[in-house]
């Protein structure tokens, strides 16, 4: 099992997160569509951590899972947190200038999605996907 941590402090770090996740997904033998979905989800969550959480970090790890590889990403920020998670996961809900599809959209692109948030303390989002077309 390998793990890499990428700091999310600027817009350029969003690109670094994408490249790191792409790299690990390629090595985990993700199909092109699987890679694209995971990298896109990572991009959404990295931007969320930057814009709404004031920055943070993501830990990227991979482990064997059946015939494939499970890639897990844990995004941590220490921003204001999210008071109403259900609302934040609703398509079209936004407190920023985007389309409000970040969290809900990212959830649809991955196999597993978990979010924990404490107002005033920050937000942790964990996602994972497994290569080899595992049925959700």
């Amino acid at each position: 099992m390998e793990a890499r941590v990428v700091t999310i402090a600027t817009e350029l770090d969003i690109v670094r997160v994408r490249q790191t996740v792409r790299d690990i997904a390629v090595r985990g033998r993700f199909s092109l569509v699987e890679q694209t979905k995971l990298v896109t989800a990572a991009s959404e969550l990295a931007r969320n951590a930057l814009v709404h959480g004031g920055g943070g970090e993501v830990s990227v790890s991979a482990e064997p899972a059946g015939p494939g590889v499970r890639v897990r990403l844990v995004f941590v920020d220490h921003g204001p947190g999210i008071a109403d998670l259900d609302q934040a996961l609703t398509d079209g809900f936004t407190t920023g200038s985007g389309l409000g599809l970040g969290l809900g959209g990212a959830r649809r692109l991955v196999d597993e999605f978990h979010i924990e948030s404490t107002p005033g303390r920050g937000t942790t989002v964990t996602i994972s996907s497994t290569s080899g077309g595992v049925v959700r």
Partner: protein, 165 residues
């Protein structure tokens, strides 16, 4: 792809053309949006062709930029065509909830030019259909262009922008 540099904006006859060959970070994407709008306004280009075939991910931010470029072009009496969206990107955008309805797309730059009513011939990268006598691209931005475009394909006056939001 390296996350550096600006995206060169080319003018080919009556069309503004960009081919995005770098990994776009947010600021670069916004700069491109502004550069394109300024170039269209300055040249009165009838079309904006954006080649994204080298782009391996489009997240909601970049999708919004592409949509905004298209909407801005429409307001400037121009038509944006996005070329070469990769299949994996298309699948992901639909799943993300961003099918980009209203965005005009083409499989190749050739087809995009045809959609815009621009003829291409051997020997030059793109030669435009000669404008009608009454039309002077340098002095008459936007006027009289719809008729030209309509000869090849029915283009609505603007993309259906509301469907994105």
């Amino acid at each position: 792809m390296r996350p550096t540099g600006a995206v060169p904006v080319l003018t080919l006859g009556d069309v503004v053309l960009v081919s995005i060959q770098v990994e776009l970070h947010d600021e670069l994407a916004l700069r491109l949006q502004q550069d394109l709008a300024e170039r269209v306004a300055a040249t009165g280009a009838r079309g904006v062709v954006i080649d994204v075939s080298a782009i391996d991910i489009v997240d909601s931010f970049l999708a919004k930029v592409l949509h905004d470029i298209s909407a801005t072009a429409a307001m400037l009496a121009s038509t944006a065509v996005v070329v070469g969206i990769r299949p994996a990107v298309a699948i992901t955008l639909v799943e993300l909830g961003l099918p980009l309805r209203g965005l005009r797309t083409a499989p190749s730059v050739d087809v995009a030019f045809t959609m815009l009513g621009v003829r291409q011939s051997a020997g030059s990268p793109a030669s435009t259909v000669p404008p009608p006598a009454a039309e002077h691209p340098s002095s008459d931005v936007g006027r009289g262009r719809r008729e030209n475009v309509g000869a090849h394909e029915q283009l609505p006056p603007s993309p259906r922008v509301r469907e994105m939001g």
